[in-house]
Symmetry: C2
Subunit: 236 residues, 2 copies
């Protein structure tokens, strides 16, 4: 794997630890990442590392929690601006795709490391994930009731759309040739097709729904979060 240069100092140690763990967990996986790797990447010793976390698993839990809470809150906030299920579904798809592309590390850890959790943390994370999934389910359900969507099985289609969008994190590269705004259009259009979205008996395409400034939405959230910054370990 080779020795990586420690991250640039200047950031508080607390942040450096989180970033180090996040990038290593995303790259190699939680099990394959040792606490020496984390300490080294953060530029501190193993003993010092334990001043910023209570255990390796607690660090994982807090990283996953942050990611899930963030996307859940963004989703809830965004849905308040719209009432049309078609607009809402397109917005959810864009948000989810954006996050899985531009916050890839966080998304990957949330998506793949659930199996590394042991009971205590597991129930907590699962319940957060369920909250987020229920937001989607509710939009699909309402769209079926008002005739916007026509699907065989709302529950399954919800999962299908979610998995489809989650997959973006597997191949999207921030500096690649694909434009993220375009990618999120393609996926929103796919979701509208999957649900057979219709307005006035006419199929709806992505060009028929309004767009949104994803960058701004997540930026706003980043700011409102960093003011009340969460800690991994309560320091006395």
């Amino acid at each position: 794997m080779g020795r990586r240069a420690a991250q640039a100092p200047g950031f508080p140690t607390n942040d450096r630890v989180r970033r180090a763990a996040l990038s290593l967990f995303a790259l190699k996986g939680y099990e394959a990442t040792g606490i020496r790797d984390i300490a080294n990447e953060a530029g501190i010793s193993v003993a010092t590392l334990y001043n910023y976390m209570s255990s390796k698993e607690d660090l994982l839990i807090s990283i996953m929690e942050e990611g899930l809470v963030q996307i859940r809150d963004v989703a809830l906030r965004t849905l308040k601006d719209q009432t049309d299920p078609i607009e809402q579904l397109a917005a959810l798809v864009r948000l989810h795709v954006w996050r899985h592309a531009n916050r890839r590390q966080s998304a990957v850890v949330v998506d793949t490391e659930i199996r590394s959790l042991s009971r205590e943390g597991l129930t907590h994370i699962i319940s957060l994930r369920d909250e987020y999934e229920n937001i989607w389910r509710e939009v699909i359900r309402r769209g079926m009731l008002d005739g916007s969507f026509d699907v065989l099985e709302p529950k399954l289609v919800t999962l299908a759309i979610l998995e489809m969008c989650t997959g973006v994190s597997h191949w999207f590269r921030p500096n690649g040739e694909l434009n993220l705004s375009y990618v999120s259009d393609v996926f929103a259009d796919a979701a509208l097709g999957m649900t057979r979205a219709k307005r006035n008996d006419k199929p709806v395409r992505v060009s028929d729904v309004s767009r949104m400034d994803l960058e701004a939405i997540f930026l706003e959230l980043d700011e409102s979060n960093s003011s009340g910054a969460r800690k991994t370990k309560s320091t006395s």
Copy 2:
């Protein structure tokens, strides 16, 4: 994690090792699985285990290879029976969903342990996966040319459909309340919606395409494979 009972004997040791590794890799992940776990699950000692594999990673590679070769071959064989891209896409979706539900362990390992491979095995596995993806891409491409499909970006939509179907392995339970044949219908319908599949200018639903006996297809393959059984380690 607790001590699991070793698998019933009767099967050749070679098979028991493969089954043990497969189920443990799928359950806990490759990194979290020790060679002692595998040996214990297979009912042999660690030293004996090394008579049936050359290394833990080689065992992983051979498991992933088997899974990928199998689904690739099933896909190729099935496509030969049909020429209509719409029928072909529905068939691919059904096969992929079926496999990710009924051969869940194999599918999960193939989908999640790519990052555990180191160069040597990685290139081999990636090229197999690319072969399989290209089968899908070609079907979508042909469907676009003959007017069956209408998508914004064939490459992205191919990935989207694949990821959507792959997700089935995350929640499907063989003895749960969902009927697999129904699930594969829902997903085939979703894929037809995503691609805006049309025949004679009318949207195609899953009820408009022919079904197939998935059970029989995979059974046939199991049999043709077990005759020329692959070995993990060449025994002198």
